[in-house]
């Protein structure tokens, strides 16, 4: 017989114990809820601030401008504008002067600076599209200069206050969607600046990154997990890969500068080099995620395939890899999203240059969205403030799009059977 008194579940001390256990559970649940609530609050704060500051960047003000080409000093013959070099011919003409003259005659001497580079660009497009405009007089809606735009959006600049009032009274000012922002590249004039060049640069850079990092990372993971012998060498490789994943990104930028630019003489500021540098940074993440995904494939599947005489290669590529693919893709998404938002290493390889033309390929000078945001945030001109926020919104949407695509792909592979 045991000498210990039998447990009495109905005892007061037992009930107290139970109550304390429930109290702890309640506390823990409350803490969890608080943590989630706090993160939601931060996220909402971030999104609301961004939207409030950035959405203005997607609209701009346009002013009506009656312009008489006959009276202007433009020496352009409509006949010469029907050839293939029309754009260059128009660029050679003093459109800026013509616009300034027309606005002064329409709205008085204070209106000399009413229009900026964006208006010139739009006028030149209009003339190329319809050279016959030059033979007469016409009225166009042109985007106003950045300073006037800010004033119209009630954000200050007393100098142009009167001009805006005047334009409003004459119903010569209207709000419109700023398509220029999505189709143009970087510019020194905020009214003419856009993200298209940076977006294209980002696309090329990420393309190079994925094309390099995904196959190399997956094959490295498969080799290390399925084929490599367990010894000191593979241990060393594993430690190195884990360390690489934690190395600060600027170090990879220095590496890219030293190896790709200085030793291999690849083009500076190019998405090719940017992509290669980011691939170095992304690959360890993919290797680690890939190895973990491969580890979770049940050994019984390998046994089953080996048991009917599949070779090691067949086991790996017919069974293990398809089952691990969703996990590998998740790792790739995380790695790529990190690369997508990376600025520091790209600064080192010269992608912070002012690039006014969108890149045509992976070896053209380009910049990427995060770097563009960094550059604009550094600008003195107040017109760039809302451009910066708007570019952040574009970057977030771009990331959302890419992640959505990756998640769609992952789910598709998961439902393969």
């Amino acid at each position: 017989m045991s000498s210990v008194a039998p447990t009495r579940w109905t005892d007061e001390s037992m009930r107290k114990r139970l109550r304390r256990r429930y109290a702890f559970e309640g506390w823990f649940r409350g803490l969890g809820l608080a943590a989630i609530g706090l993160s939601v609050l931060f996220l909402a704060f971030l999104l609301v601030t961004m939207a409030a500051k950035g959405l203005g960047g997607f609209v701009h003000y346009e002013a009506r401008l009656p312009i008489d080409f006959v009276k202007s000093d433009l020496f352009l013959d409509p006949a010469t504008l029907r050839g293939p070099d029309a754009t260059q011919t128009v660029a050679g003409a003093d459109l800026e002067g013509a616009i300034s003259k027309a606005s002064v005659s329409a709205y008085g001497p204070t209106a000399a600076q009413l229009f900026g580079d964006a208006a010139v660009a739009r006028l030149s497009r209009a003339i190329v599209a319809n050279p016959d405009l030059l033979t007469g007089q016409t009225t166009l809606w042109l985007p106003v200069a950045s300073k006037v735009d800010i004033t119209a959006k009630d954000k200050g600049d007393a100098n142009s206050e009167a001009l805006v009032q005047e334009l409003r009274q004459r119903h010569a000012l209207r709000r419109n969607f700023n398509s220029q922002f999505l189709t143009a590249s970087d510019s020194t004039d905020p009214s003419a600046a856009g993200v298209w060049g940076a977006l294209k640069g980002t696309f090329f850079t990420i393309l190079v990154t994925i094309l390099l990092a995904f196959p190399i990372g997956v094959l490295a993971a498969v080799y290390l997990e399925e084929f490599a012998p367990r010894n000191r060498w593979t241990d060393a490789i594993e430690v190195s890969i884990n360390n690489l994943a934690a190395v600060p990104s600027i170090i990879f930028g220095l590496l890219g500068l030293a190896v790709f630019l200085n030793s291999m003489n690849l083009p500076r500021s190019a998405p090719l080099v940017g992509g290669m540098t980011l691939a170095l940074m992304t690959m360890p993440v993919i290797v680690i995620a890939g190895r973990n995904a491969i580890k979770t494939v049940p050994p019984s599947i390998r046994d089953a395939a080996l048991g009917i005489g599949a070779s090691k290669m067949q086991v790996t590529f017919h069974h293990v890899l398809p089952l691990a693919l969703p996990g590998i893709l998740t790792g790739t998404i995380i790695g790529t999203a990190r690369a997508l938002g990376e600025t520091a290493p790209l600064l080192m390889i010269g992608m912070r240059a002012f690039v006014a033309a969108p890149p045509g390929g992976i070896s053209d000078p380009a910049t990427v969205l995060p770097v563009q945001i960094f550059l604009w945030s550094d600008e003195v001109d107040r017109g760039f403030v809302e451009k910066t926020s708007a570019a952040i919104i574009v970057l977030l949407l771009f990331m959302l799009l890419m992640n959505g695509l990756a998640i769609y792909l992952r789910n598709r592979f998961e439902r393969r059977w």
Binding site: I301, G309, Q314, W417
Partner: protein, 315 residues
């Protein structure tokens, strides 16, 4: 290479399908305890001689060509010896059962027969194992081909997470056993029929193999194993994860397959060993304690340890 007794499996070979009646009967009687009739054996003179442990009864199966022949096989996992000098023969038309308490090395031995132990880095096998007189432990042996000739069914049903059709077709496809799609379909159909699963799945071959019940999954695994026309089938506790009805079906299936394939089965269930096998090997602590006719092992064992185990004194 004694291949003449084996019929090659072709899609046109008539296949005995376990009838619905058998399934119904199995359902009615639950786990069977009646011993199935043994196949006719050449009456070997059974001379009762005192033999050391782990040897055969003198004269048993004398003069018969063994399909697989293990000679003093020892297995080490690192420093630990898991199997000590095991010698066993497996015959074409018989089911050989390996019984013994957990950790006695019977599964280890089974995995030696198609070199599945190769996948464990620390495992080391000594001794000689022959398949039709060819040493399969030699490094020159083509393991991929060996595993096609010596198929395996595992303890836990492990169908591929693919369609039922793909599960069975995978083996023939990687070994190039069919030259056309219709031929492949024929192999899949005959394998599923032989495994007694055809009637249950013929209308849903494109559904996932993992959606089947446990017993069906195990029969699918057997169909997958026989689709590559093996000569030997190794079964590692094929029924331990199944309910009695599914177990009865698998046991029926083993009867159907006997004669066409040499079968070795590891089991914890001594009734099962008695029901399905004609030869039984009793393992204990990595040693082969006794090997002989199933009927004799269970009624008149020569070793005290065997006696103790089958009467339930340990294990």
């Amino acid at each position: 290479m004694d291949m003449k007794q084996k019929m090659p499996i072709t899609p046109t070979t008539p296949v005995p399908t376990p009838s619905v009646a058998i399934a119904a009967e199995a359902h009615a009687r639950g786990p069977s305890t009646t011993e199935p009739p043994l196949p006719a054996e050449s009456e070997a003179p059974s001379v009762a001689v005192e033999v050391p442990a782990a040897t055969f009864p003198e004269g048993l199966d004398a003069g018969r060509e063994a399909k697989m022949c293990a000679d003093r096989v020892s297995v080490f996992y690192g420093e630990k010896q898991a199997l000590k000098d095991v010698s066993i023969r497996i015959y074409d038309d018989r089911v050989t059962a390996f019984i013994g308490p957990s950790g006695c090395g019977k599964s280890t031995f089974l995995r030696c027969l198609n070199r599945m132990n190769d996948t464990i880095p620390s495992a080391r096998v000594e001794g000689r194992i022959e398949l039709d007189g060819e040493d399969i432990t030699s490094p020159d042996m083509d393991v991929v081909q060996l595993r096609a000739r010596v198929g395996m069914v595992f303890q836990k049903p492990n169908p591929f997470p693919k369609s039922i059709f793909e599960n069975v077709a995978y083996g023939p496809r990687i070994h190039g056993l069919s030259s056309s799609k219709s031929e492949l379909e024929g192999i899949v159909e005959s394998s599923l029929k032989r495994a007694g699963l055809w009637d249950e799945v013929k209308d849903r071959l494109q559904e996932s193999g993992t959606a089947l019940s446990g017993g069906q999954q195990q029969r699918l695994c057997i169909a997958r194993a026989i689709a590559v026309e093996p000569e030997v089938i190794l079964m590692d506790e094929p029924c331990s994860a199944l309910d009695p009805i599914a177990t009865a079906k698998i046991e029926e299936l083993i009867h159907e397959l006997r004669g066409r394939y040499a079968i070795a089965i590891v089991t914890h269930n001594m009734q099962q060993a008695a029901r399905v096998s004609q030869r039984t090997a009793f393992f204990h602590l990595g040693e082969l304690v006794e090997y002989g006719k199933t009927s004799e092992i269970f009624t008149n064992p020569r070793e005290q340890r065997t006696q103790d185990y089958i009467t339930g004194r340990y294990g």
